[in-house]
């Protein structure tokens, strides 16, 4: 199942290799999900503009990365797909006429025809229209959940990494607790009692269970950035905490967070669909690919098209975000140059 932190937020962060081992940096220690793993590669990279502003340094990490990205077909392709998705979510009526809620049982399970290129589903709803309108839900959930998780996680993780001490230990233990709960399971338990049919409970749940992932990345990269010589120098010169954090550390620590968040965005969209498929995510009349796929699965023999089209749209959307994150990571990781 596509969890938001595929394949599940693993490993109990504290007491792992970096804390107890003879070596710290080699701590590929244990399992981690792709996003985390690749985010951690970034942490070790000399990152970011150094706070003197990109104008002073024409070849900063970011401008190098941007130069790379512009020439990367994967980035351009996934970027175009995402732009298209955003456009469709904002103005679905431009490419699909009619309402996604207007269904005609007489047309149930009919195949492709004039006005309904994707055919009709089990309730006689136009699959094309519903697939187009479903994009809005997915993009909304994905973007809002990612924003919430990124904000919440990076602030908590960043502060814990910067100040260390008791708060850091407490936060590590708390993230451990969240990592021990399987995501889909948590979603089932928490959302099964929610009766609201808006997107907010789903987004809230994702932020609640997703922040530890970003928090761990942010904490790690802040700690790495803190150890950079020029940050030590700034400290020695008497820079204040807030100035160090905002001007020297944050610009360097933000790259891994962005990469992991982009990849996570795709997985949140997949998670929403999974929860909707299990009947605890979004509920009709909200139009969602997950709901449609779930509704189509009993008719899979006779009307596979009702299942395939929303599935395809879902997969393409998730793929686009994951590939975007992948491309950004490649561009930001000087080791791979």
């Amino acid at each position: 199942m596509p969890e938001p932190m595929p394949p599940e937020p693993l490993l109990s962060g504290g007491g792992r290799v970096p804390e107890d081992g003879a070596i710290a940096a080699t701590g590929m220690g244990g399992a981690m999900d792709l996003a985390t793993a690749e985010g951690e590669t970034l942490e070790r990279a000399p990152a970011g503009p150094d706070g003197t502003g990109p104008t002073d340094r024409p070849r900063s990490l970011w401008s190098d990365a941007w130069r790379d990205l512009r020439r990367n077909p994967v980035f351009i392709l996934s970027g175009l797909v995402i732009l298209f998705l955003v456009f469709v979510s904002l103005w679905p009526s431009v490419i699909a006429s009619g309402s996604p809620l207007k269904c005609d049982l007489a047309k149930a399970q009919e195949g492709s025809q004039q006005g309904a290129p994707f055919g009709y589903d089990g309730q006689g709803c136009n699959v094309y229209t519903r697939t187009v309108y479903g994009a809005r839900t997915s993009v909304t959930v994905g973007v809002l959940a990612t924003l919430g998780v990124a904000l919440f996680g990076s602030v908590l993780g960043g502060l814990a990494g910067f100040f260390g001490g008791v708060w850091d230990s407490v936060l590590s233990r708390i993230t451990d607790i969240f990592f021990a709960i399987p995501v889909v399971l948590g979603g089932l338990v928490l959302l099964s009692v929610v009766t609201s049919n808006t997107v907010w409970p789903v987004i809230g749940f994702m932020v609640l269970l997703g922040w530890p992932q970003i928090s761990r990345i942010a904490r790690g990269s802040v700690i790495t950035a803190k150890q950079n010589d020029y940050v030590q120098a700034a400290r020695a010169l008497g820079a204040s905490n807030s100035r160090m954090l905002l001007r020297h550390i944050a610009p360097n620590a933000v790259a891994p967070v962005i990469v992991v968040a982009t990849i996570a965005l795709g997985t949140y969209i997949a998670l929403e669909a999974t929860l909707s498929y299990l009947g605890v995510g979004l509920k009709p009349p909200t139009v969602s690919w997950g709901i449609d796929i779930s509704a189509a699965s009993p008719y899979i023999r006779n009307a596979p098209h009702a299942l395939l089209w929303p599935s395809g749209a879902l997969a393409l959307t998730v793929l686009a975000f994951i590939m975007l994150g992948d491309a950004v990571r490649d561009a930001l990781d000087p080791k791979l140059r």
């Binding site: 199942m1 596509p2 969890e3 595929p6 394949p7 599940e8 693993l10 490993l11 109990s12 504290g14 007491g15 792992r16 290799v17 107890d20 081992g21 003879a22 070596i23 080699t26 590929m28 220690g29 244990g30 399992a31 981690m32 999900d33 792709l34 793993a37 690749e38 590669t41 233990r173 708390i174 451990d176 607790i177 021990a180 709960i181 399987p182 889909v184 399971l185 948590g186 089932l188 338990v189 099964s192 009692v193 929610v194 795709g266 997949a270 669909a273 999974t274 498929y277 299990l278 796929i293 899979i300 023999r301 299942l307 599935s311 879902l314 997969a315 998730v318 793929l319 994951i322 992948d326």
Partner: protein
């Protein structure tokens, strides 16, 4: 080593308590445990009050939690919605899910590592790009879609497998569901192995091994693989807990009566004792798997010394 294990065991306690308490609170506070006890009918107020007293539901939540955990440690997981003890459900459900997980892990090891090694050694070649693209697609297609599609193709269209698994859930029947369960992790294992191999391939000690005049085969198996697989092995180890907890979707698609199925039923019927009981065991499995992985790590990498 001994002291390290003890310290890790002690560290597990707050995580265990936190995770189970969290689930306990979710089920109790958010849901209505009484509604589940009366089955599908609505409870009348008098019965409800009596049930509340009987199950101690009128006490504060923390007290309920303590009572429940106390019972769990004496082996009493309570009663499921159909009147069966939860432990009996576990006895039938866990073997099925364990079989499913074993199959998934075998897929991860055999296919994931093989593909990762092949692509890592041929980084940038067509094989590499092809496999990389496939892994991205596998990661992007949600498991329930993969499962439904495989069920449609293999089960319905081509008739290679039975679309739903019998109550015996033998290894043979679980092969396709196991593949579905493994699919996303499989793609990660491939990518992780690939990255690890490609990184280590450029390392100084591999160059030394070549300079020693070792045959390519020996360089790869003895020097490159040994080092590159350390993170992969640890990933797969921690994945055990995740797979067992994440089997809900797969079990639902193929109608497998394992842990996920029982949990799903428990959640639908808001049966606290089933849900919390199963989750408690899953959290334990996850924590123990993580501990074992940490210890395994020390065996694989002599630089790690636990104090």
């Amino acid at each position: 080593m001994g002291r390290y294990v003890i310290r890790r065991l002690l560290q597990m306690i707050p995580v265990f308590i936190g995770a189970t308490l969290l689930i306990f609170l979710m089920v109790n506070v958010m849901g209505d445990p009484i509604a589940g006890l009366c089955g599908d009918r609505q409870c009348d107020p008098a019965t409800a009050a009596q049930l509340e007293k009987e199950f101690g539901l009128d006490k504060p939540v923390w007290q309920q939690y303590l009572t429940y955990m106390g019972n769990v440690f004496t082996g009493d997981f309570g009663t499921a919605f159909n009147g069966q003890p939860v432990t009996e459900l576990m006895a039938t459900a866990f073997p099925v899910t364990i079989r499913l997980t074993i199959i998934a892990i075998v897929f991860e090891i055999v296919i994931g590592i093989t593909l990762g090694v092949v692509t890592g050694l041929r980084r940038g070649r067509p094989v590499d790009s092809g496999v990389l693209l496939v892994t991205l697609v596998v990661i992007s297609v949600p498991t329930f879609v993969t499962g439904l599609l495989l069920q449609l193709l293999l089960g319905v269209k081509w008739g290679w497998i039975k679309p739903s698994v019998s109550s015996d859930a033998t290894f043979g029947e679980l092969i396709v569901p196991g593949l579905v369960l493994a699919s996303v992790s499989l793609a990660y294992v491939t990518r992780l192995t690939r990255t690890s191999i490609a990184e280590n391939k450029r390392s100084d000690y591999v160059r030394t091994a070549i300079a020693k005049g070792l045959p390519r085969r020996r360089v790869v198996t003895r020097h490159l693989l040994r080092n590159s697989l350390i993170p992969v092995v640890t990933f797969i180890g921690t994945d055990i807990g995740a797979l067992m907890g994440g089997a809900i979707v797969t079990e639902r698609i193929f109608n497998i009566h394992g842990v996920g199925f029982q949990l799903y039923q428990g959640i639908l019927r808001q049966n606290t004792q089933t849900v919390v009981g199963f989750v408690t065991v899953l959290v334990l499995v996850f924590l123990v798997a993580n501990l074992l992985v940490d210890l395994l790590y020390a065996v694989l990498d002599p630089r790690i010394r636990y104090a």
